[in-house]
Subunit: 339 residues, 2 copies
Amino acid sequence: MIGFGNVGQAFAKLLISRRGWLRETYGLEVEVLAISTRTRGSLLPNMAIDLSQVLGMLEKGGTFRDSLPGYVDLSPIEILEACDANVMVELTTLNIGSGQPAIDHIRKALSRGMHVVTANKGPLAYAYDELSSLARSRGLQFRFEGTVMDGTPVFNLVERTLPGCEVEGVRGLLNSTSNYVLTEMSRGKSMEDVLSDAVRLGFAEADPSLDVDGWDAAAKITVLANVLMGAGSTPNEVDRAGIRGIDPESVRKAAASGMKYKLVASAEKAEGDVRTCVRPELVGPEDLFWSVDGRSSAITLKTDLMGEISVVEHDPSIMQTAYAIYSDLLLIAESLKAF
Amino acid sequence: MIGFGNVGQAFAKLLISRRGWLRETYGLEVEVLAISTRTRGSLLPNMAIDLSQVLGMLEKGGTFRDSLPGYVDLSPIEILEACDANVMVELTTLNIGSGQPAIDHIRKALSRGMHVVTANKGPLAYAYDELSSLARSRGLQFRFEGTVMDGTPVFNLVERTLPGCEVEGVRGLLNSTSNYVLTEMSRGKSMEDVLSDAVRLGFAEADPSLDVDGWDAAAKITVLANVLMGAGSTPNEVDRAGIRGIDPESVRKAAASGMKYKLVASAEKAEGDVRTCVRPELVGPEDLFWSVDGRSSAITLKTDLMGEISVVEHDPSIMQTAYAIYSDLLLIAESLKAF
């Protein structure tokens, strides 16, 4: 595991709670062999890491150096070179400008013969074609369900349940913080108050620019366009506007006429190219997105053979992101069994 | 292919149009070896059937006896005994009282070593446990995505993209004719007029009881409960009320207060059992289902690890049912390749 923040810790808790079930139902024993963190040092014992011990230590505010077995002062790349895991789980934080160093972590893991699971949008937004080719050429799996809408099936939906179907367009509410802010503003709060609440509750970053300026949504629509529509694009190519310019008066006026502002991300084919866009739109109640409030998110896929289908995630917590990693890991385990 | 009505013919057209793509992308050659119909006789030539010829004949109002090669006067069971196909596609019409004779067709196909794809709810509503055990014991696939919400991923979604997740409850708008009738009534039409329009347009049965009395929705929620929640129940155990009792005055009143009637089918765990229910409910615009109008349908799955997710199918046509068969067939082809 490269990165062990909120998502990594939630995933570790999920692994612990499902250990018996995994053994009985899948015949699967999941052992974490190494954990690399940016601020706490890294662990690389020559045995499975005791996740409960690690989580307990972190809860008490401790660092890895204190008393955990296998403490090492190695970089993520050095950890990947020294470790013989089957799977690398990449959970470092998003670098919206380049996707690094996560791209390097994934390159290294694949070149070392590890399958890769990530919830980090950066590598998909900046290097999807390269990394997926590398994985394919090595017969390895590269899974990333958690990059968009947490563990809600989007990429796995298209790959595993819509065979032979081409995605021609995508439209979604992909940034839950923006959606939460707009919902609370429609109830009379100011954007500043809502954002500071969100930071306090732990689901928005201290720097809200990624969310309110549409960068997070831009990264996600880029990932969708790259993976589902072969766009080969980056977040910089998204025609992007966030919610920062929306004032309380506009929200009130919209509400008075039964409308809501939503931050809509979209991708569509146009003249042999894929055009991506993030911008606030006014939607009425006849639009599916009208009812998708708060931290919920939604996506509509326009396909050639199956027409339009939508998927909605209702009121997610960190557990749904942890499930994304968990489900990708199980899909890898299943495929290894099948061959 | 057992049954060759609207869905079977749409599937045949899809197969013809994708033949080149299937060959190039999947290395897959799909040949239809036999077609059995209730009223037009059957075809069992000792070669692949020319689907274009069959469709052309039917368009001109002809029957199989006229001039098609391989005409035989055999029952579906006799066809299955005489034919050596890899896959049987069951598309006979729903028998809401027993699921027969489709159950016998599927039993026979599985016992002859054929994988099975069906869009027929009956066998799943009356004999899911038996048929799925039989398939498993023979190492065969039994796929039925088309039984609920056409080709929209529901069963394949849970099976293939939500590993390790348990479904704890289901709530859906599953009968498109009822939804269409309620939508049109809210625009001032009478139920009788809407139904006769629907019959004329070819998407409702001449006998509307299956739809307006909630039997179709009851069959579907039974299938969902059986497959996703291990209910082992039948449509007769559903607490069922259809839309027949809803008068124009009630619909008008609801609309005046911003509400809509929707025929909601649900399944939930209760005291070690699964309780299934179909009944009209009043929903407001904050409910996702409010915006799901006309022939669209929707389902919300409540799960243990992924919280609540919904899937919506927008304005389907017969092509989306054909895609259900097609996608199940491709999933079978993929799994045969993998082993």
